[in-house]
């Protein structure tokens, strides 16, 4: 049985690689993820299965589809509907298959050791707790990195920058008398401020 799921998984992987349409190939990837989750269930690894289903098939797909659709608003094309339907059909079949598996647990591989949420939690919080340390740092690094990559575009003209009060970035800090910021009247929008010019 597990071979059947895996073969289906490989077919979807091939689809994901060879389909021309970006959206469809991402959806095929989601199907790969869902099938992998089923494989995990079949291997008596339900925690990894649920996680793969929610993060791999859910979160990553949503992120990717959002980005692609955000980017591709201009040259949007009519998608090949037939393929989409075929895909949805296959996904439906695999979900049915999955439900069938759920209601007959352990029917095909009775030797597999079982481990549920509690066991995994125990391992994660005790035996491998030390892995959570770099994990937290990785998430921190990713947050900082994404913030850095998506920060607002740099203000191009120096004049505008100085009006916005961010002139410190182009002028050495020692050259800017701090008192000026307080007592000087507000500069007009778009007006050139001599202190803000490039030295």
């Amino acid at each position: 049985m597990i071979y059947f799921t895996l073969s289906l998984l490989l077919i979807f992987a091939l689809l994901a690689i060879f389909l021309k349409d970006n959206l469809l190939s991402i959806l095929s990837l989601a199907a790969v993820s869902a099938l992998l989750a089923i494989v995990f269930f079949q291997l008596q690894a339900p925690v990894a299965g649920v996680f793969e289903l929610s993060v791999g098939a859910g979160l990553i797909t949503v992120l990717a589809v959002l980005t692609i659709s955000f980017i591709q608003t201009k040259h949007e094309k009519a998608q090949s509907g037939a393929l989409l339907w075929a895909l949805v059909g296959l996904a439906a079949v695999s979900i049915l298959f999955f439900l069938f598996q759920l209601f007959s647990p352990g029917a095909f591989s009775p030797t597999l050791a079982e481990s549920g949420w509690n066991d995994v939690g125990l391992v994660l919080w005790n035996a491998r707790a030390f892995d959570l340390f770099p994990q937290v740092l990785i998430v921190l690094a990713a947050i900082l990195g994404i913030l850095a990559l998506l920060r607002k575009k740099e203000p191009v003209p120096v004049v505008t920058a100085s009006v916005m009060g961010t002139d410190l970035k182009s002028v050495p800090i020692t050259d800017v008398p701090i008192a000026d910021e307080k007592d000087g009247e507000e500069p007009h929008w778009g007006a050139a401020v001599p202190g803000g010019e490039e030295p």
């Binding site: 597990i2 071979y3 895996l6 998984l9 490989l10 992987a13 091939l14 994901a16 690689i17 970006n22 190939s25 991402i26 990837l29 790969v32 993820s33 992998l36 494989v39 995990f40 291997l43 008596q44 690894a45 925690v47 990894a48 996680f51 793969e52 993060v55 791999g56 979160l59 990553i60 992120l63 990717a64 980005t67 692609i68 955000f70 980017i71 591709q72 201009k74 095909f108 591989s109 597999l112 050791a113 079982e114 481990s115 066991d119 995994v120 125990l122 391992v123 994660l124 035996a127 491998r128 892995d131 994990q135 990785i138 998430v139 990713a142 990195g145 994404i146 990559l149 998506l150």
Partner: protein, 99 residues
């Protein structure tokens, strides 16, 4: 029943590498990376089945899956930044860098 999933792991990994090496679109690169990730996750879970320590490998798999998502997020942020210059998702547009 004797089952061995390693051939599938290598097939999936191979497909991922094939995708990375031959496809010319940022979306396909993402798919290639994801396939590599899925293959390794499967290998990890399978290692737990073989060693009869499913809890350990599942907790490792959890970390791996979440790292995968994190890498994808950073990748998509880069794709977004790339797109603002190029209006395309084609790596052949990456002509500014040679090599």
């Amino acid at each position: 029943m004797n089952i061995n999933l390693l051939p599938f792991v290598f097939a999936l990994f191979g497909l991922g590498l094939f995708c990375l090496l031959t496809r010319r679109s940022l979306v396909k690169l993402l798919i290639g990376l994801e396939l590599l990730g899925k293959a390794t996750t499967l290998a990890i879970i399978w290692a737990g089945v073989v060693q009869k320590t499913p809890a350990t490998t599942q907790s490792i798999a959890l970390l791996v899956i979440s790292i995968e998502a994190v890498v994808v997020a950073v990748y998509l942020a880069l794709v977004y930044a790339f797109h603002r210059h190029n209006q395309s998702l084609d790596t052949d547009d990456m002509r500014r860098l040679k090599g």
